[in-house]
Symmetry: C2
Subunit: 245 residues, 2 copies
């Protein structure tokens, strides 16, 4: 019986990938992942069988990984950021569970630095307090449910992190979310945008709820909207925890 691991490789740089993730990839016979993520770790996997395919073929790709593991191979499915946050951990487990128990290879999920952790560190300390993580991709989730969640999160004065805020085909969702936020949050609420965190192209900007959708936002962006106490000073975005200093 083989083994399958779902490995969070972190947001980009190998400097942000844990030793456990590195070791798991090094021990694998076969590495499976979306081409963009395979490229981030290409130096690590030169001598390995690599199964990389284009986006939108997640199910086939993970099924191939499961099949190889069932056949006795040691397989690492790589997922950018944390494999458990909008990553491949769930899909691989779901596919494994379709097998009879005696045929299931051993499975491990290896956590990684997710975009929300990496982006927060670049912006300063915008999380620090209770926060919400929402994906604006409506491919797998009804848009009405996403909007409802954004509304409740804004009512609760949470810090709000938005994954998949915008893509070439999906440009209007972020505008609708901004409108929902403005029902409860001040137009001056700080909003941080980090593009390609931990990669060579990394850049970050701090804007306001009123204006942030005018900034460059794409499928490699992570947006963090502050709570009512979040402020900006010396280009840091900070949500105070509540210490009296």
């Amino acid at each position: 019986m083989g083994k399958i691991s779902v490995v969070g490789i972190g947001p980009g740089s190998l400097e942000d990938m844990t030793p456990k993730a590195l070791e798991t990839i090094q021990k694998a016979d076969i590495v499976v992942g979306y081409n963009t993520y395979i490229k981030l770790i290409e130096d690590l996997i030169k001598d390995k069988q690599v199964i990389g395919t284009a986006m939108m073929q997640e199910i086939d790709r993970c099924q191939m990984a499961v099949d190889h593991a069932t056949a006795g191979k040691t397989v690492a499915v790589v997922s950018s950021g944390d494999a458990g946050i909008y990553g491949m951990a769930g899909l691989v487990l779901e596919l494994l569970l379709k097998l009879p128990k005696e045929q299931r290879p051993e499975v491990k999920i290896i956590p990684g630095i997710s975009a929300v952790n990496a982006s927060a560190a670049i912006l300063g300390a915008p999380l620090m307090h209770d926060f919400v993580v929402i994906s604006l991709s409506d491919l797998l989730t009804p848009w009405d449910l996403i909007k409802k969640r954004a509304d409740l999160a804004a009512q609760g004065d949470f810090v709000i992190a938005l994954y998949n805020p915008k893509s070439k085909k999906r440009v209007q969702n972020i505008e609708e979310i901004r409108e929902i936020m403005l029902k409860y949050k001040s137009p001056q609420t700080p909003v941080g945008i980090v593009n390609s965190a931990s990669r060579l192209e990394e850049n970050a900007v701090i804007s306001t709820l009123e204006n942030f959708t005018k900034e460059e936002i794409n499928m490699f962006s992570l947006v963090i909207i502050g709570n009512s106490n979040t402020y900006v000073a010396d280009n840091f975005m900070i949500t105070p925890r509540g210490y009296h200093i």
Copy 2:
């Protein structure tokens, strides 16, 4: 001018600490942190000046770190998990901002694997979808606000991760949160509890919303409450992303 870094050391094992965090600690003259976390990295810091104090002295400890950095030293403030999630990133930045700009040492925040990432990986794939992170500690946050946030999060059918769910002195908050959850979520909703993730004492249990508060929960626990689609199979807790497989 010195340097100060706030370093997320991950949940426990050095295997879960990133190379960037490791390198930052190795380069520091002085390492500052809560004794429990200093102990997790003691092999790394044998030749360094260590400033460790007991819990509840965060402000004094971080101020000492800032003072040493202002005086020209390279200082690493270590924070368990991710420095930006209920960690020391915000406090250090707030203290730095009290200094005149020309006296401020260079500052970096180094992200780490937070308890929510590590615990999710141990449980299977319980996050995967939109989720909320709430701390049940009411030391720095009014309890009514925490309850309001929990209520809104449950209404939104978010997966909900609870930090600081219980301590020796604070045993009732988790019971109140359970009651709030039961207003909206099924009593059979899976609840995962991970104690001391990534440390030698690590253990995990999967229970239900109805029964989970009967399990061992302490100040080193992380609790993850599922959404309406979360299920348990073969001892994995899984929140499906929504793929049709």
